[in-house]
């Protein structure tokens, strides 16, 4: 009986070990620096871009009230810029993009794979998001809203599947309004050894008629280490009309 127990335990351990090995073998190596395909950041990416770039994002399929809010906002932004008095964005206050904006990778991204977690860093504003692997997602009411929300993920074969909720309503990608129920689903996959695609699907039963899907493509930067980025002296500010202004301050500090 004791021998049988030992056999069962040993078998269990072998199966568990094989599972871990299998997972580590199937999880592709996406650790390293990446730049958005087609963005010129001054450093040549590694490898060839895949022949076909992903399709451009379609407009967000917003429900009428949200669509009007978005279009009105874009009109105000466009008209203010044409007058040389642009509307101050969050970035003017040195606030980060948050999700999903940081995945546009204005500046390069760094992806780090560690046990139980994948971490993504965006160089601009030193933005950091943590994707907890193989954990259940929380209920949205159990998450304090933030810029990056709460992300859980798992490997589905060669694809990293990530679910993010809990993004603050004032953190708006491309000024698109959303509710607290917005859910960001990502599917990240190497389509070539040095090309990573991230298919992003946003669902929001309150704001969107149907899911909004678009894909970002990134190219590997083998020899690039992310640079420091600190908003140390920001001369831009928002005036009392919400317009972007610059502090003219020649005094040495």
């Amino acid at each position: 009986m004791r021998a049988l127990n030992a056999f069962v335990v040993a078998s269990g351990l072998i199966i568990a070990a094989q599972t871990i090995i299998a997972q580590s073998q199937t999880a592709p190596d996406i650790t390293g620096s990446w730049q958005r395909q087609g963005f010129t950041v001054g450093v040549k990416p590694t490898g060839q871009a895949t022949p076909a770039a992903p399709a451009a994002a379609p407009p967000p399929p917003l429900k009428p009230a949200y669509l009007k809010e978005w279009q009105d906002r874009l009109k105000v932004i466009r008209e203010a810029a044409a007058k040389g008095q642009p509307i101050a964005t969050n970035a003017v206050a040195c606030l980060p993009d948050g999700m999903p904006g940081m995945m546009t990778a204005t500046f390069p991204l760094e992806i780090l794979q560690s046990r139980g977690q994948i971490t993504i860093i965006e160089e601009a504003y030193t933005q950091v998001r943590r994707i907890l692997l193989d954990r259940p997602q929380k209920a949205v009411d159990d998450i304090e809203p933030g810029f990056y929300g709460h992300s859980v993920g798992h490997w589905d074969g060669d694809t990293l599947v990530v679910d993010t909720i809990g993004v603050k309503e004032n953190v708006r990608y491309q000024n698109v309004p959303h509710s607290k129920d917005m859910r960001i689903s990502e599917r990240m996959r190497l389509v070539a050894p040095d090309t990573l695609w991230n298919e992003i699907t946003i669902t929001d039963p309150t704001a969107l008629e149907k899911p909004w899907t678009f894909t970002f493509a990134y190219q590997r930067m083998k020899d690039y280490t992310l640079l420091e980025y600190i908003c140390e002296d920001n001369r831009e500010f928002s005036d009392d009309q919400g317009r972007q202004k610059i502090r003219v301050d020649p005094a040495p500090r």
Binding site: A57, L74, G84, E236, P250
Partner: protein, 136 residues
């Protein structure tokens, strides 16, 4: 309807690419002309979100006018070869820049001739949208 959708798609593509490239809008600067200023650097500010060159520019009437030259993110500058030690106070430099629409003595730097004569461009997004004037 198809045409409307097409127009929207174009507008959205532009909206989705353009703001992603800069810390903020450069619409506060004049896109129709540039100024060329030569003077003495009082400070080279190597900071994010943007760097600055502070410089005193002698005027034709014998006075000196102080200019602030806004640069891009120092991260972008580093990636195209800029270094923090390339400019120091006292250096004589020449800047081609787009002036601030408000008329204040501020310009967006597009190109800098360093004290050693080397010309360094700035990685300003959509730099081609700034119409260059003849050098004064």
């Amino acid at each position: 309807m198809a045409r409307r959708t097409g127009m929207w798609s174009i507008a959205v593509v532009i909206a989705m690419v353009a703001p992603a490239l800069a810390h903020h809008s450069f619409a506060v600067y004049d896109h129709t002309r540039t100024i060329t200023i030569s003077g003495t650097v009082t400070r080279f500010q190597w900071t994010n979100p943007h760097g600055f060159i502070e410089m005193d520019v002698p005027q034709s009437d014998g006075s000196v006018k102080h200019y602030s030259v806004e640069l891009t993110s120092i991260n972008m500058m580093q990636r195209v070869g800029w270094r923090s030690n390339m400019i120091k106070p006292g250096d004589k430099v020449q800047v081609v820049g787009a002036p601030l629409l408000s008329g204040e003595p501020v310009a967006l730097g597009l190109e800098v001739v360093l004290a050693d004569g080397k010309t360094m461009g700035l990685p300003v997004p959509a730099i081609g949208s700034f119409k260059r004037s003849e050098t004064q």
